[in-house]
């Protein structure tokens, strides 16, 4: 399984999905001009990865800001992870936020509620 790596920019988050370790990292800011173009390869990668039946997946999300369409795609990513969980995979989502970023912490809580995935919401320690 190939890894998926996309460098971050001012408008797009850094993506580092490792098929061998099962660690999927998303970090930065997500306000792409074309959200579909950015997120579609990520969803396709997850679809392919799901066929590999991984035993353990840890998603590490460190986002500082994202736009509305990105929030829909994040939900889609979490749905994919939920299907991993339903297939017997050990899935855990680590949602990181800056200590003074109350909004991002609450957003993590909302995603936790709606996805039904095991979440750990943690402040970023300097």
């Amino acid at each position: 399984m190939n890894n998926l790596r996309i460098d971050g920019s001012k408008q797009t988050p850094e993506i580092d999905f490792n098929g061998q370790t099962g660690i999927l990292k998303i970090s930065g800011r997500s306000i792409p001009e074309n959200t579909f173009e950015f997120f579609n390869p990520i969803l396709l990668w997850l679809d392919t990865y799901s066929a590999e039946k991984p035993a353990k997946v840890v998603a590490k999300v460190k986002l500082e800001y994202f736009n509305t369409s990105s929030s829909k795609y994040i939900l889609e990513v979490l749905k994919r992870l939920k299907s991993f969980l339903n297939d017997g995979c050990d899935v855990n989502v680590e949602w990181y936020y800056e200590e003074d970023d109350e909004e991002m912490m609450e957003t993590g809580e909302d995603y936790q509620d709606v996805s039904g995935l095991p979440f750990e919401i943690k402040p970023i320690e300097d």
Binding site: L44, T68, Y111
Partner: protein, 174 residues
């Protein structure tokens, strides 16, 4: 994902339901199943809209807070910039004031020497031993020192400001 849309799955579901409606006949069971599916999709869609709207509003609030903080920083920066400009102006004025005073003093000394060396003998030749003519001339020179200093000061300040403005324009241009 051939349909390049953020809502491609939802649109697919809708299309399936539309296709079902186009059929001429369907059994009660089929109708029930299709309706159940539609309700499930609708429920899922409402859940999505609710969560996305909530998150979007919250992040909009975060953005507004950041903008407000940025605006405040800009105001503070402008105030600091004003203070800095004021201090620079005051320093320039003080520096030029000192230069103008020195220049006028040199000119006064020069005039005094000229009057002693060149003009006094001429006055003596024309007016003889008239002490008041020479004294009046020196008095006029002494009275002109202060306005002369102010004029020189103003002239040099104007010149310095023009230079500063030209430098600022050059910096903005580059």
């Amino acid at each position: 994902m051939s349909n390049q849309s953020i809502y491609h799955r939802e649109l697919e579901n809708l299309e399936q339901s539309k296709q079902f409606l186009k059929r001429n006949e369907y059994s009660k069971m089929e109708l029930q199943l299709e309706f159940k599916k539609l309700v499930e999709h609708y429920e899922e869609l409402i859940d999505q809209v609710k969560i996305i709207t909530k998150i979007s509003d919250r992040l909009q609030g975060k953005l507004n807070k950041t903008n407000e903080a940025l605006e405040l920083s800009n105001v503070q920066l402008a105030e600091l910039n004003n203070q800095l400009n004021q201090t620079i102006d005051e320093l320039t004025e003080a520096r030029i004031g000192r230069r103008a005073a020195t220049l006028v003093m040199i000119m006064a000394i020069g005039l005094f020497i000229i009057s002693e060396v060149a003009i006094e003998p001429m006055i003596d030749d024309y007016f003889g031993d008239n002490y008041f003519v020479g004294l009046s001339l020196k008095l006029i020179v002494a009275i002109l020192i202060k306005p002369g200093e102010e004029f020189t000061n103003k002239y040099m300040l104007r010149k310095a400001r023009k230079k500063q403005l030209a430098q600022a324009k050059l910096r903005m241009g580059s």
